[in-house]
Symmetry: none
Subunit: 188 residues, 4 copies
DNA sequence: CATGAATGAGCGTTCATTCAT
DNA sequence: GATGAATGAACGCTCATTCAT
């Protein structure tokens, strides 16, 4: 019956957090984030119980966003390699398009504020990606290696690749391809 | 401002910082670090001008330590693959032996407090490693790719591998080998 | 601003305030009180203009409740001592029955939020009690002492007695008698 | 070897706390107290770990101060009544001289921030007073009543008496005597 | 009238850094 | 040089109160 909680505001806070964290690190103050979101100091805490809660939600939403972007318009019917490259390249495109999200995610990933539950949730979001990796590696040299390990290696490569794409956006496409080819060589 | 007398104290502070940062993150207070080092609050600032300075030095020293450990007792005369594996495996061994150093380095690497100069210094320390990679990739599929990029990919893989080695130390040797084989496949 | 509809809600808020203040002190938040009352945040302020207003009303109602309980079923026709003991003992019984009310009242009595007007109103409510004390002391050593002073001393004794009754409820009746006898000795 | 912690500053903080609490209640902010003490915000916390710690120390010191003042220059050799009156009257004199201390103590006594340990310490400080009460009541009607209870009743009376002395300082001496006579009647 | 989101001043506390000893 | 007390800005978070729904 009262003013309902607004998704718009919630998203504004998450977006503001992304921007502020990307530019100032995880020590960005909640006041700064609130201000950047055009919201009062206290309002931030009606949408997120604590700063750590905000960080965890942001982490999960970013992971989910990547997973969603990557899985969209899958190239059904084409080769595994093409489908995997499609995914890889969408991932890179997302990172280049939203470098602040990428930067924030990099910081969040190693932060102690992110709980094991959130890491698990992030992991779960990547299910489709993992399935594709599993298929791709099923007959190659990594066929007997736990999927988790393979995925972790992929993450390492993609993060490095993305870093180059962002730093040198003019050659982003080239870096993307080179990173992928290295990845595919490792995988198959 | 001249080099203060006691290298011992300086090292105690760096070691304490490593431990405290590994367990509490980069927001660990200078007071905590000083206490852990058995040194007074204020003394920390006669050895390091600011907290950021301390972090930068620590970053560089850790990078240099890895480079040194990795380069020791090189397997001259054996194959490139063996020499590279030797390096890779020493690196992993160091990380498993000093997981706090590894954890601290992971946090420092993405911190905004680390200046470009420090990143460059860390990079420079890896010169020998890079040279080995250059030799190893000289005739393979990555021969035309800038060494920086290749090294970055290697870092991504080694970081992922090390993470597994630390989390599952009983199988550290296996993870080490698997990570290396993936890397070598990518490289050659 | 006219008298709001539901006395039920008003009373629920007062009762909730009693409970919450007893357990958390006067710094209990209005939100907590509202929640405990099963009422919304904002509704509290349609029944009480401010938190201070709520506290003042609660103070007065508790004082009035004591006065009412104490004056009920007076032992007309018996001796002054018996009538006074009856009052004393009802007072103690009330406190033991509702320790939270007693605790809240103790805190409110010394709070700066309670206005002189409220203190006066609390005082007025005790008129019947004061009249009994006046009769009882009329021929004793305190006959020439202002009634206010005598009443204040009585309050001091009753508060101490009640404290013991609540802390050691198994012997409440004994404490009650002992406190009264001390009081009566003082008075007569 | 560094600047030593100064008792002067510690006492200034306690004195400032007394004043500020007396005038604004226990919700007085630590910032206000620090300012009143002529000390920085943060310094307050080098002398007292938390606000609650400060309140507990203040409570204990005030209790000890009363005990000390009351026990000074005891009237050895005179009657128990005279000795007890001496104590009573010194107590009242202290309260009239330092009404802010009295007010602060009244608030602290009922605060939830004061731990049982502190209450015990305050109790211990009153040992000499209790011994005098014990002697005085040894042959009277309260001889079989636990000393704690008798002391509690005394506190109730003295607090009420002191309240009148402070409110009406012109007649403080008269109130003091009247309160004592009531107390002595109760006791003997 | 009821609701609970919105507000922003204010809180207790921490902390990097300075400086008296 | 070593110490740790002093500083005060900044932090995460709370809260009484207002007001859109």
């Amino acid at each position: 019956m009262a003013r309902p909680r607004s998704d718009e505001k919630r998203n504004a806070i998450l977006a503001a957090a992304t921007r502020v964290i990307a530019s100032q690190g995880l020590s960005a103050s909640t006041a700064m984030i609130a201000k950047e979101a055009g919201v009062s100091n206290g309002s931030l805490f009606t949408y997120f119980e604590t700063k750590a809660d905000l960080l965890n939600r942001l982490y999960i939403e970013l992971k989910e966003e990547i997973a969603e972007v990557v899985a969209k318009e899958p190239h059904q019917g084409t080769s595994l390699r093409d489908r995997t490259f499609h995914m890889w390249s969408r991932w890179g495109h997302w990172a280049v398009t939203f470098p602040e999200k990428q930067k924030a995610l990099t910081l969040l990933t190693v932060s102690d504020d992110i709980t094991p539950e959130s890491h698990q949730a992030g992991h779960d979001a990547f299910r489709e990606i993992r399935e594709l990796i599993q298929l791709s590696s099923a007959h190659g040299p990594m066929r007997d290696i736990p999927l988790y390990f393979t995925t972790a290696l992929m993450n390492g490569l993609s993060e490095a690749t993305i870093h180059f794409m962002i730093e040198d956006p003019d050659n982003a496409a080239m870096h993307c391809v080179r990173g992928f080819e290295a990845f595919w060589r490792m995988l198959t």
